[in-house]
Symmetry: C2
Subunit: 423 residues, 2 copies
Amino acid sequence: MGTVLKDVQPIGGDAPVEIRFEGARFTAISGEGISPHPGDDLIDGGGKLVAPGFINAHTHLAMVLFRGLADDVPLRVWLEEHVWPIEAKLRPEDVYWCTLLALAEGIRGGTIGFADMYFHTDEVGRAVEESGARGLLSYGIIAPEMDEKGRSEIEAASRSIGRWSGVADGRIRAAISPHTIYTCGEDVWRAAIETAEELGVPIHTHVAETRHEVVEWLEKTGEGTVPYLERIGALSVPMLAAHCVHVDGTDIGILANHGVTVAHCPKSNAKLGSGIAPVNAMRDAGIPVAIGTDGAASNNRLDMVEEMRTAWMVQRALYEEPMKPSAADAFDMAARAARPIFGLEPEGLVEGGSADLILIDREPLHVSPRHDPLATLAFASDALDVTDVLVDGRWLMRSGELRTIDAERVRFEVEGLRRRYNN
Amino acid sequence: MGTVLKDVQPIGGDAPVEIRFEGARFTAISGEGISPHPGDDLIDGGGKLVAPGFINAHTHLAMVLFRGLADDVPLRVWLEEHVWPIEAKLRPEDVYWCTLLALAEGIRGGTIGFADMYFHTDEVGRAVEESGARGLLSYGIIAPEMDEKGRSEIEAASRSIGRWSGVADGRIRAAISPHTIYTCGEDVWRAAIETAEELGVPIHTHVAETRHEVVEWLEKTGEGTVPYLERIGALSVPMLAAHCVHVDGTDIGILANHGVTVAHCPKSNAKLGSGIAPVNAMRDAGIPVAIGTDGAASNNRLDMVEEMRTAWMVQRALYEEPMKPSAADAFDMAARAARPIFGLEPEGLVEGGSADLILIDREPLHVSPRHDPLATLAFASDALDVTDVLVDGRWLMRSGELRTIDAERVRFEVEGLRRRYNN
């Protein structure tokens, strides 16, 4: 038995459609009406917008615990005096609850998939599995050299990949995450690259986030960040490269040649004063640019609608170009560019494709009067206008109510952790 | 009889307070508890955040009719082929309904005052008066010279000031609005300045919005935009100058010397590709920088929470400076900088001051765990988290329900207008 969703308005189209799914697949999508099969559920979409869900292409979910912790202090003070001392004390189950809170917020706002990098990844995986969302999970490796610590970090990462890759019918995937070029030595990088090749997983890392790190690397080694990554072979495996704020034309050419997917994090880059990534130039070069929120601590939301809006705003402002990215470009970045890394067909919402979608209310004041669906979503909608989230044929939210996460319980648990650690 | 609001958390403070108001004034604000007077209403604030409401320092409310109309076309095409042909046909009552819709959206998101510039200003005034919000209203003058058209424009503006200045116990104020230096000739400007002096109202205008207009003016006249405004005497009366995107150090010095208030519109400037205003430099020079949404058509929201967030984000990204503007700076811009122009005491939420406040929910997932009130509002809150809006001692919204505007009726009317004009 399946489900037929009636009267929903695709964001790319002019007229409402009906959508049928059964199990984890869409079986029919049509503007002409669909004959339900016997026993099908019928749901009236009430003219709501329907779209493929958002993919948060770079985040550290559990860092939601640090949301609002010492916001306006210098980065180094924030890390050294606030975040790291707490992270050192976090218990595995703390990471579970914090990850669940972050997932709840993300799903509430229409996010169906999360590329997460953190530690205690078994707890991250447990939370993602229970939530019903898609995950690309990785353990963040930090090791200056391939000594005992380096070997144990690579081992932790490999173990996490073995545990989570392909879990829940492929809803959960794994990556390997040497943290950055300056927190992992070349030997550690080479071991990570080898592991990625052996286990068939992508590398998910941070690239050229701040001007300081790029300049310092160049001064110290005489080599650019991206050329270095190319030389050591890191770009020969599929890569999800977060940030890429301080990349030049040469770097962009290299990233494009190697088919790197960039995870653009405009709000985190703004909040931390990192700058504005040259997204228009990267997209012009053919680089798939996806969008991520980064951790809640440097955002402070996990809101892909606002992140999508920030992405087109800062590019238009930076380049003083009014129509680039367009609404369609912005949506492609927020919902489509990272789909291949999650093993999803590129477009979304296609017959035979994975039964993932979100519904968005068109009634609120801030989207009135009714207008072009894509412009509505990209320019005017609020994350809180998302009412329904379907992943792999399962409702994670219906009519604004989360179905897989007990939000009250999770808020209570994380509030207790805040009192335990943040005071 | 008054009202005592218990257990609300000021955004600048550490502990909850109680607030009493009677008529249009706060009579007591205290962390020690307030003894209610006989007959006072008691309201449990439930630990919500309390703040002075936002002031939208530059907008064209009725343009909400054009939200989503031909979004991704060049500015000239948008104006000449879409907006102007419809504006030429708008009936006065159309402006009334559209203004009400915009006010409803703004109040819903915690905005207590609106600096509006449009035409059919009697209908704008009627809507603002009914809504209970504060308004700084003006008729947008467009006239190349002081001919019959020029005189009739100045007359329309003067009439509007006479009709609306000081209405509703001063809740509504008026300004005079020569539209720009390139749509109004020098004689028209001089007549407007004279009128401003005579009637004791500020000038509300657009200044240096696009690079093109600034360069073209300089090439044509040999004089900069801001020096020109100074020379003709436009800065000798109080001025609210929208945009100021393309101002240099000299301009900033002149604006600061004359006490001009700038209405920064970061989202509109981004959407239209106008650029990023040097807000940090202007604030460093002592210029009061307020925030406005501009019209909904170039935003596409009338959401001062998102506008505040965009303001600090684009400055930090532009200057690559992580803590400037701070959360406090951002809130000052969004809620305080324009208060003097509305005749309000600068701080807000003070004993003896005007009884205007908003309450903001601290329970949503996206502001969990609970943290610093100011950081919560500036970095994480959603406009839809605002639950209550009080202006001049009157509730315009209680528990998310608008009290002065029939939102369903207004949406219905504007939807009808969209079908009439936008198709």
